[in-house]
Amino acid sequence: SIGTKEADGNATGTTTEGVGGKSSQGGELSYALATSPDTLDPHRSGLAVSVRVIRTLYDSLVVQLPDHTIGPWLATEWTVSPDAKSYTFKLRQDVKFQDGTPFNAEAVKYNFDRIINPETKAANAQALLHPYKSSEVIDEYTVKLNLETPSQAFLGNLTQALLGLVSPTAAKKDGEQFGKNPVGTGPFKFVKWDENAEIVVERNDDYKWAPAIVDNKGAAYLDKITFKIIPEEATRIGSVQSGQVHAAETVPPQNVASIKGDSNFQLLQVNTVGLPYTLFFNQRRAPWNDPKARQAVQLAVDVDSIVKTLYLGTYERAWSPLSPGILGYNESLENSIKPDVDKANQLLDELGWARGADGIREKDGKKLTIQYVDGSPNREKRNDIAAIVQQQLKPLGIDVKVEITKDVQTVVYINGDYDLYGNNQVNSDPNGLYWFYHTSAPNAAKLSISGSADPELDKLLEQGLVESDQGKRIAIYKTIQKNIIDKALILPIYVFPYTVAASNAVKDVKFDTLGYPLFNDVNLLK
């Protein structure tokens, strides 16, 4: 039988079921990654691809369950203070790091303090840990985390791999080089990392503290996992097809059908959760600070056609600033917008943009243009989206200038030199919206993508962060989503499915709620 099973939008944590039921012990899995991880120090990493490896090496305090509730992992239980500004965790007592260092309250305190220490040069972890202030060791296995301000996202963020717990001994010893010599408590131990070639991890035999989302609570079945780094698409898929590796991630849409159609292979697919791939208007720049102008674009861009054309039915279209499967996702937005070129034209006419001789609209001697910035390389065919948007807006009289750059950081976040820019984020909590849509602090080192400065939206986002009542919180986020779409702040494009092509021998790959693969249960048919 073909072990392919596609997760639908809401069902995260999908598993594939082994044929025989009984998992076989041993074996080495080779798994091709699409890019090279930047570091295996979770606190310093900023790449999703790193997380796939990091997840095998480290555990978190808590885990997110498929129903969005938080379950125990290295922490057995926790309490939140009434002002919601401190969290007290009771820790498992049978855990130790792979280098023998005991896991205890000191270790947790060390970890979180490490993240906010500027010398660590922490990356995304710092943002996820926000608004963490300090830790107090209550006793050996009890730790209290203090926050600057209340945050409903905090606990959820603790489930993320980037806030995984590193061995204090190793981190202190290796300093800058810890990312090349990672030590955690996870089901696998680091063996070696050949840059640009492979990362090898082996089973941690002592492991017996797996979270609820996997079946095998003890040591993993696999002896080893070799993560091969194969950036070139054709090579990566080719190496699965030729049998050189067991599995390869990120299957290009055009290959999905052939993998599915080949009885020797299975296709695993799970939608990632967080913010879907979304095109953001830069509201700092005219005329796209005008809702009407944005709406015209919103009506003219045929997202359905884009997604169908480029992804050949393998990606789902996104409708909201959040992806399905996340807390508070607003289903009512689905199918709420239909392309309507006439209306779009009318809107632009109303704004006084008249067509010039070349068909491009003009006003006050200025052409109606969109500076569409996208990063290179052409990840997930995002550059191609730009190409289609360019064609779709041409009849509307908008000249879309596509700029593909290696240096998105500078162009977008520092110079703000764009009208339209696309991005997505894997996130466990709808509070992820905060960083994108809240008015940015005046001294922020980096501009927010949307350039929003909307007091109403700001207020809603602040409420969402602290609202402790789940129901109310969901309502707030639904409003926010509708708000954003109504004001046409963005064009949501697609929900990114994490896809894996694997030989049929690979059994029981599971995924966490964010769509990262878990290897605890994996076994190889011999």
Binding site: A234, I237, S305, S376, I388, I404, T405, K406
Partner: protein, 282 residues
Amino acid sequence: MRFPTSLFQKRLAVSELLVVVAALVVAFIILCAIVPGWIAPYLPTEMLTDQLLQAPSAAHLFGTDYFGRDIFSVVVYGSRDSLFIGFASVIIGGLVGGLIGVISGYIGGIVDTILMRLIDVLMTIPGILLALAIAASLGPSLFNIVLAVAVSAIPGYARVMRGQMISIKSRPFIMASRSIGSSNIQILWKHVLPNSVSPLLVMATLGIGSSILMGSGLSFLGLGLIKEVPDWGTLLSQGRGYLTVAWWICTFPGLAITIFVIAVNIIGDQVRDVLDPKKRTA
């Protein structure tokens, strides 16, 4: 020359036939670049979303790509930027490199030493790295790609031209001209240059091909040109992921590059033969 031309026409050897074919190919491709509209059945930007990934057929000679564009038309229109990259970078690289070579070879001495060390500096950095660094610094625009490729070609031209200068400088007819009382500039302009450009010309013809290839290499590394109508290198690079499902997407632009480069090389070889006075007088 007083060759009986009829004899020529009768005995058209295979290699001569090759040159004729090559010339026709190049002429056709240049025509494509100048007036693509005459040749291409579709607009290169026209996305026929109901005809994605169609195999080559009568309607779509080279098939369609994942946008539903007619690949034949895209290739035809794409020739413009490809040829531009090829020709412009060769012209810039050739002029700058040639000039350096002329100055270095003709003046000699300390100027020569300094310029040649500078050229050595450029030589020590492999061409594509230089191009990569320049393209990365300046961003991917058509002109920057041209610049990047041109800079990496400079050392070659400079060296060849310098060598030519030095060898021409010692030919008796240069001394003849000097003994007549011609000034340095006159000699340089009227004798040395005309007699030394032919290897440069040959190198330039061959360089057109390598420039296009280098451009496509930059595309592959993600520093290529992104425009509405992709050049061949970009098209090839974009289509490479589809090789197993729709071979035609990258095969045709690939063939376009290869055939063009081959044709240009054949012509370059012919130019070499024609410009070689030894072969002409033989």
